[in-house]
């Protein structure tokens, strides 16, 4: 129930139009701090569009994405920030960000929202270790004095780089890829690439981790390893997770909160058990056309 009491991200009236097509329509939902939130729905429901709006790859046509990174946001503070025209502000309860106003790299670096992609996007010609070091670009860039100090070899860069390698080794240990640290990322098997992409995102030290179909193409064993990894990320690192997933075994097993989209509209929102038994969700997944049919399906299911 944390999404009711301690919201991390409040999406309000989120709408995304591409020309005449409305991919997401007036969508409001909340991601709770410390929750694993699943965003599910049939193909083409607009889930990835929501992701792209949250991570700044799309600028939403309408709506507000208030991200309270450190504490519960006061609604008055959100309203003040919205009216001020600024992107973010430090409030009494910590930093508050309006993600819809921020460019993608600022969202990753300032607001600390990291993401993975449906089609894996590793730097395949770079080694596994390099992938994780690139993910720590911004702190290392500061340590190297925006390259100016680094180039002449003064400043804390060397030490910071060693720390970055340590962090990378920690994560590689957790996903069992430490022996392949010096191999090109493109040579890894598919399941390992998925895990590497997740820990690469974790190396940016995110507050919210957005995973676009992390279990796609994984076998049952890899799927259960993924569940364990995601739980570990939430429990040991306190990172909230928002994931898109089609694999219901993953969704039902690990999520604390499920939001269901269909044709860009939210049709259900709640704990996994509530959603599982929601007739609208069943209808959407079974593909029923009109209200009357929905009722008949509901009758069938609840019988």
């Amino acid at each position: 129930m944390r999404w009711r009491t301690d919201p991390l991200l409040c999406a309000e009236h989120l709408t995304m139009r591409f020309g005449g097509l409305t991919a997401v329509s007036d969508l409001s939902f909340v991601v709770g701090r410390g929750d694993i939130t699943a965003l599910i729905g049939p193909n083409g429901a607009g889930k990835t569009t929501v992701f792209n709006c949250i991570t700044g790859f799309y600028k939403p046509t309408e709506g507000r994405l208030a991200f309270a990174r450190q504490g519960i946001a006061d609604p008055d503070d959100v309203a003040t920030l919205t009216l001020s025209g600024r992107r973010s502000a430090r409030m009494r309860n910590g930093e508050l960000y309006l993600l819809e106003r921020m460019p993608d790299h600022e969202i990753a670096w300032r607001a600390r929202v990291a993401r993975t992609f449906q089609n894996i996007r590793l730097f395949s010609g770079m080694t596994v270790l390099e992938n994780l070091i690139v993910a720590q670009h911004n702190p290392l860039m500061l340590a190297s004095g925006m390259s100016l100090l680094g180039i002449i070899g003064v400043g804390p860069y060397r030490a910071r780089e060693r720390e970055a390698v340590q962090k990378a080794t920690y994560w590689l240990d957790r996903i069992g890829l430490i022996d392949r640290a010096d191999d090109p990322a493109g040579e890894l098997p598919y399941g390992a690439q998925r895990r590497l992409e997740i820990v690469r995102a974790m190396c940016t030290e995110p507050t919210l981790l957005c995973l676009d179909e992390p279990a796609a193409g994984l076998n049952p064993k890899e799927s259960s390893e993924l569940n364990a990894l995601l739980r570990m990320i939430r429990d040991e690192h306190g990172t909230s997770i928002l994931l898109i997933e089609h694999d219901m075994s993953v969704v039902m097993e690990i999520s604390d909160h499920v939001v269901v989209l269909d044709y860009g509209v939210k049709i259900s929102d709640g704990a996994p058990d509530e959603v599982r038994n929601d007739p609208k969700v069943i209808a959407a997944y079974l593909g029923v056309d009109d209200e009357a049919d929905v009722e008949s399906v509901v009758a069938e299911v609840t019988r």
Partner: protein, 507 residues
């Protein structure tokens, strides 16, 4: 190197392969028809008449047919690779032999022998066409490791000794060609190649107008020194800053463009700069160019016969070669500076961000990398080194005009980067030596005269031979001379990344 097995190999003299060969011959005949079969010549009345040369066309088609058939035999393919490799080694060898025949003292021969050994060893280590399964492949890898350790200090030593040894061996008049035409000329292109390598090889942004920054650097020195009387050492950084500034100016509008679109706009930018230089006559003196640019001085001492000149200062007999040697060391240091800076940047976050950008721009943005700034720094730094090289060019020539900054120059520099293997510093240096030195060597290869008769003028065919060499490269080493990528950091062991995995950038 994997066995390059062309698609659709059908076997020697099989029906399918004969059909393919006939098609190839037909294409060759079609292409050669306007060039070989028809020739317009003036007759006695000075009217142009068309002469048919059908046998020539038939020969061309027949050669293609036979060649295509022979290529179906797998052994022939490999033999051809070795033949090509052999021809390359032979060319270098014959150059060295012809140099040895000249009246060289012993240390000159020693230097040449060291150069030949280094070149040969490196060529064998990196370019010899062994298959991975070939028993020699392991030894080749071992040789590569040795060469990687030894070649660089040895090569550097040879480079620093080169002008002095040449001077001692051939005297001021004889060594001028070697230091100037080979040494300085190649080093300019090595530096330009290294500069462009930042933009194209590391950041993966295809820049077809790099010569614009070379021009900015050259004109910056020419104008600053003639107008304000500033010395070279003040103009050099200023030229770099100005070129970097223009790099950013170019960078901003093209940030959103990728691939072909980026290439076209950078090409246009190169042309715009050249056309501005031609037409802004008040400042640039148009096509006539700027002359009487102050020549290089030895930290204030001019290279003249006067009392305060370099020769008098060191009690030497005056010779114009002193200036050339100084220029050689200057460009060597500038090129090495480019190299050191690039190598260091590769190990800094900015360099890793460039390479990540080349691999996947969207992933970069999701990791909080500001791709705008990353691209702009790549453009600016690449342009800065182009500007340094440009101001060196101006101080060396003493004269600049827009003709030196045509698209051909950009194409040559880009060819050096692509030929060297995108992102590889050593590869680019070798490619520059091969491209610039190679075309020069072809001018004076007596070997070719021995084969084709005394009337054969290799200089006329050098671009043709060069074209063949480039086509051969594209077939057998499409990722350039050094096709692997060396990781910028490692945990236990530095393993080279195969070229096939490394992205080429999308703009």
């Amino acid at each position: 190197m994997a066995a390059a097995k062309p698609d659709g190999v059908a076997g020697f003299l099989s029906a399918a392969s004969i059909r393919q060969s006939m098609l190839a011959a037909l294409v060759a005949a079609g292409l050669a028809f306007p060039i070989l079969a028809l020739r317009a010549e003036p007759d006695l009345d000075n009217h142009l008449v068309l002469i048919n040369r059908w046998p020539l066309l038939a020969w061309a088609a027949a050669i293609v047919f036979v060649g295509h058939q022979l290529a179906q035999i797998p052994q022939i393919g490999r033999a051809l690779k070795w033949l090509l490799f052999g021809v390359g080694v032979l060319m270098v060898g014959s150059l060295i032999v012809s140099a040895l025949r000249a009246d060289f003292p012993i240390y000159g021969r020693l230097l040449l022998a060291a150069l030949a050994l280094t070149t040969g060893g490196t060529a064998l280590a990196f370019a010899a066409p062994f298959d991975d399964a070939h028993p020699f492949a392991a030894r080749q890898r071992a040789l590569r490791a040795i060469v990687a350790k030894v070649a660089i200090p040895l090569g550097l030593l040879a480079l620093f000794a080169f002008p002095l040894v040449m001077l001692a061996a051939l005297g001021p008049a004889g060594s001028l060609k070697w230091i100037n035409n080979y040494g300085v000329q190649i080093l300019i292109y090595v530096m330009l190649g290294w500069g462009l390598n930042i933009v194209v090889g590391l950041a993966g942004l295809l820049d077809l107008g790099y010569v614009a920054f070379y021009a900015v650097g050259a004109y910056a020195y020419a104008l600053l020194s003639t107008t304000f009387g500033l010395s070279f050492w003040i103009c050099l950084p200023l030229a770099g800053v100005l070129a970097a500034f223009w790099g950013v100016i170019l960078g901003f509008p093209v940030l959103r463009l990728r691939g072909d679109y980026l290439a076209i706009v950078t090409l246009a930018f190169g042309e715009i700069i050249r056309i501005v230089l031609i037409n802004w006559t008040d400042v640039t003196n148009g096509n006539a160019g700027l002359s009487s640019i102050p020549r290089i001085t030895f930290f204030g001492a001019p290279f003249t016969a006067s009392d305060n000149g370099f020769a008098a200062m060191f009690g030497l007999e005056f010779s114009p070669i002193h200036r050339t040697i100084f220029l050689f060391y200057l460009i060597l240091c500038l090129a090495l500076l480019t190299n050191v800076v690039t190598l260091r940047l590769r190990r800094l976050p900015i360099g890793r961000a460039w390479e990540a950008l080349r691999e996947d721009e969207i992933a970069c943005r999701s990791l909080g990398i500001n791709t705008t700034n990353t691209k702009l720094t790549a453009f600016a730094l690449g342009a800065m080194f182009g500007g340094f090289a440009g101001s060196f060019f101006a101080v060396r020539q003493g004269f600049v005009n827009p003709d030196s900054f045509t698209f051909m120059e950009s194409a040559t520099i880009l060819a050096i980067v692509v030929l060297g293997g995108m992102g590889s510093q050593v590869g680019v240096a070798f490619a520059a030596a091969a491209m610039i030195g190679g075309t020069e060597i072809l001018r004076e290869l007596d070997l070719l005269k021995a084969i084709f008769g005394p009337d054969f003028d290799p200089a006329q065919y050098r671009m043709l031979i060069f074209g063949f060499a480039m086509v051969a490269m594209m077939i057998w080493k499409p990722r350039g001379l050094v096709s692997t990528r060396s990781p910028s950091i490692f945990l236990k062991e530095r393993k080279a990344v195969a070229g096939a995995l490394v992205g080429e950038g999308h703009g």
